[in-house]
Structures are given as structure tokens and as C-alpha cells.
Symmetry: C2
Subunit: 148 residues, 2 copies
Amino acid sequence: MVGRPWLHGRLRNAGFRLTLPRQAILNVFARNPKHLSAEEIFLSVHRNYPGIGLATVYRTLDLLTQMGLVFKFDFGDGRSRYELASEVIKEHHHHMVCTRCGQIIDYSDFMKKEIKFIKELEVELSKKHKFKINSHQIHFYGSCNRCQ
Amino acid sequence: MVGRPWLHGRLRNAGFRLTLPRQAILNVFARNPKHLSAEEIFLSVHRNYPGIGLATVYRTLDLLTQMGLVFKFDFGDGRSRYELASEVIKEHHHHMVCTRCGQIIDYSDFMKKEIKFIKELEVELSKKHKFKINSHQIHFYGSCNRCQ
DNA sequence: CAATTGGTTGATAATGATTTTCATTTTTAT
DNA sequence: ATAAAAATGAAAATCATTATCAACCAATTG
Ligand SMILES: [Mn+2]
Ligand SMILES: [Mn+2]
Ligand SMILES: [Zn+2]
Ligand SMILES: [Zn+2]
């Protein structure tokens, strides 16, 4: 899962170390596949490693995001939220955000169709705007089941 | 453009008034069709109306967003950015964000195709998740022309 | 018209997430 | 072992956004 040799190598190649705080933070993701805020991650890590500080959590999240191992999102609740990259553990998916209660729904129901569409679009956009596309986000906003 | 009777009526119906600060702020959008931050809007308004405060800018942006006249975005630079809703002046479009220089590109090149696709997807998702979809955002991240 | 009501505002303080600083510790290279 | 480079925790600083509150203004009522 997380904390394996390939991860270690991946960081090393970029000149970083797979330290204990970094492993601990990655393990939180592995245990809790949600959209976690920095504080939530800090609190979770803190139970097992009271020595690890909040600043380190922020630094690590930033590092993992830069390396593409973690995705950073803003769902509009005033704090950033993070999720393991599909490459690492979850399958690729998009989001629906309930603007009433804040619930976030991962969906991957029609991904084959979506991926195909996005792929084509990326090719056209890249060409037309000379823009190298690395990733994308699709968010639907509205009201969930319980909030209608 | 902005500040016309339909706008006035629109606000009145919701129990609000089209005051001078609100008009001034809407005029900034009309003059400057970019993705503006609250502070940028404040500074622009401030040149003509030094009396209008930053808090009022925030309040107004919030109001206009709630009313659907303005869209609020987070492009990852640590501040919210706002844009007139397509309904008001611009045509519907999506975004490409350069993660190196922060440039934001509006594109509406393949909108017919995209809208059609999104529409279908919304129907399927709404049904499957009992989720009422009101709006969506599509963001592509990568490096722009000059940043490759 | 005068009084009342409720929306609006500017100035200011407060909040809260994120970043920076800096001295110290840990790891790596020589 | 020694020097250089990374990483860390604690605390302070930053900075966008929100809350407070007294003053203001527009619409309504009698
Ligand atoms: Mn997700
Ligand atoms: Mn735009
Ligand atoms: Zn909801
Ligand atoms: Zn760029």
C-alpha cells in the first residue's frame, strides 16, 4: 500500500527522504480514504505520534502534492482538502459538492465515457492553446439527497 | 450592460437594494472581464469611490454569488476570484490553469460538444445519486505556452 | 410630514488557515 | 569522523475573510 520501496525511491529521485512523519501522514490517508483537511490529518497523526507538528503536516502535504502523490482540492469550506492520487490507491474519479451541507460525493460511475471525452478534449485544447495539460478536476455543485 | 432595470428588479425581488457600492462593484466587472480577487475589486472601486470599504466589497461579492450573478472560483493562489456569471455578460466557458505562473485561460472552443456531454452526464448522475445539479466547473491544470 | 422599520455601510477588531522563522536534530556524502 | 544538506517542532507572523457595531439611508406607515 503506502510506505513501500517504490515510494521511497520516488522521493529519493527527487532529492527527498521518506521520513517517519511523512510515512505517518501517508498512513493516515491509507486508513482514511476521505477528503481530509490539514488539521484532520494532524489530529489523526497526533494520536500515534504526538511529537509531529502541524507545520510538518503542511510541509508534507505540500511536498506530496508537488510530487503528484496527493491531490489538493478546494470544495469551498474555507480549508484545503487532500486525497491520495489515483496513481497511489484510489481509482480516478470526479466530485459532486452539496452547497447546502458541504457533503462531497466521489463518483466514478461513467468514468470510461468521461475519460475518453476528456482525453480527446485535452488533445484539442493542448494543440489550440499550446498548453501542456497534466491533470483536471470536474466538480458538480448542487444539493444532495438529503438537502433538496 | 450592468446597472439596468432588470438587475434592480432582480435584487428587489430578493429583498435587496441596488445601492451605489453594489453598482460600482458590478461596473468593475463590466470594465474588466477577468478573474478578479476581492482586493483587486476593492482597489479598482476605490479609485472612483474612496469611501467604499473592503468589507462592503466582500459582502457584495457574497450577495452577488448567492444570487447567481457572479461566480466564485478558487484557482489555487490563496484567494477567491470572481467573474460575472455567463447569464450576465460572458458566454459559458471553462478554465485552464497554469500551475507555474498562475495564468488562467478561459476557453470556450469546444463548448457545444462539452455542454452536450455535461448535460447527459448530469442527467445520469442526478438520477443515480438523487443529486440536484445546479452548476459545474471544469479545470485543466498544466503549463501554459510560456512556461513549458 | 414625522416616526418607525429594516436593509446597508465603513471602520475596526477578530478569526482562522497557512506560512515563515529559526534553532536544533537527523541523514547523507566525503 | 566531519561537513553539508534536509527535515523538524515550536512559535511567531501573515493574510484573506468574517464578525461587530454604531451610524446611515430608503421605504413604509399613520
Ligand atoms: Mn475524491
Ligand atoms: Mn473565466
Ligand atoms: Zn447536502
Ligand atoms: Zn504559465
